[in-house]
Amino acid sequence: MKRWIAAAILGLSIAGVAHAAIDTYEFAREADRERFRELTKELRCPKCQNQDIADSNAPIAADLRKEIFRMLGEGKDNQQIIDFMVDRYGDFVRYKPALTAKTALLWFGPAGLLLGGVVVIAVIVRRRRVQQRAENRTELSSEERERLDQLLDKNQE
């Protein structure tokens, strides 16, 4: 039991360390700290690909954090900071890429596929319904009625 508790405590302490790259930046305004967090979450590390720059320990991510901190200090707004990064590293660095002709497929592709699926299902369902109606039909067509009349007439004679 004691061993388990010790292990749990050890595990928790490691979890704290492994959480993220931590820099000690002093922000003049509390709002800046929040924006710093937002921006470093939204921008992607060019070197390590599937981490945002808040999370990455790569030197380039540290440089970019420093640069964002500097620009926040200069009073640049979020759009200016993101544009600065995109100018240098391309659309790649944004987890939320801008809507351009190049990225349109990315934005609308999934919705397009979903729509396509819905259309296909609608067509299939309708076709099946029409077929079923034809099978269940109890009314006679005009030719059938004619034939029926003939048969009945014959019987009466």
């Binding site: 060019p46 070197k47 690909q49 380039i60 970019l64 640069e67 240098r88 659309d91 790649f92």
Partner: protein, 178 residues
Amino acid sequence: MKRWLMLLPLAIFLVVAVFLYRGLYLDPAELPSAMIGKPFPEFSLPAVQGDRTLTRADIVGKPALVNVWGTWCISCRVEHPVLNKLAEKGVVIYGINYKDVNADALKWLAEFHNPYQLDIRDDEGTLGLNLGVYGAPETFFIDARGIIRDKFVGVIDEQVWREKLAAKYQALVDEAKP
């Protein structure tokens, strides 16, 4: 249902398969550079050797390679002899010593020969940042007007140079001729 509709899933599968197959041979670490077609950024940095200050004007005028390297970068060591050979053949190469200790850089250049016509010292990585550098080695191709025309990420070895890059450099040289 119509006969051709039955072939639709096969067609979709083939399209997806082609894309995935192509994806097998793409290197995800290779990013298209956002800098291609843009002018080489302004800078004012010391040289690796001596007290000289280098600026953008110093490297503009001739088509050239601008090679980003550091003594901490292991693959740069592999690339270095190739750059030496290229420099011997008359290819203009400028070096950016990126985020390095200057004493180490001096030692490296003395030991392994210096293929660079100018050595820019970018201790803080500011020029590297403006170039969109995210590792080393990276090599930029600039034309005579100082516009970045191409970028190569990774080690330039003899094969890569022969098959891919020599033609690009030659095109820039030919273009610069009147």
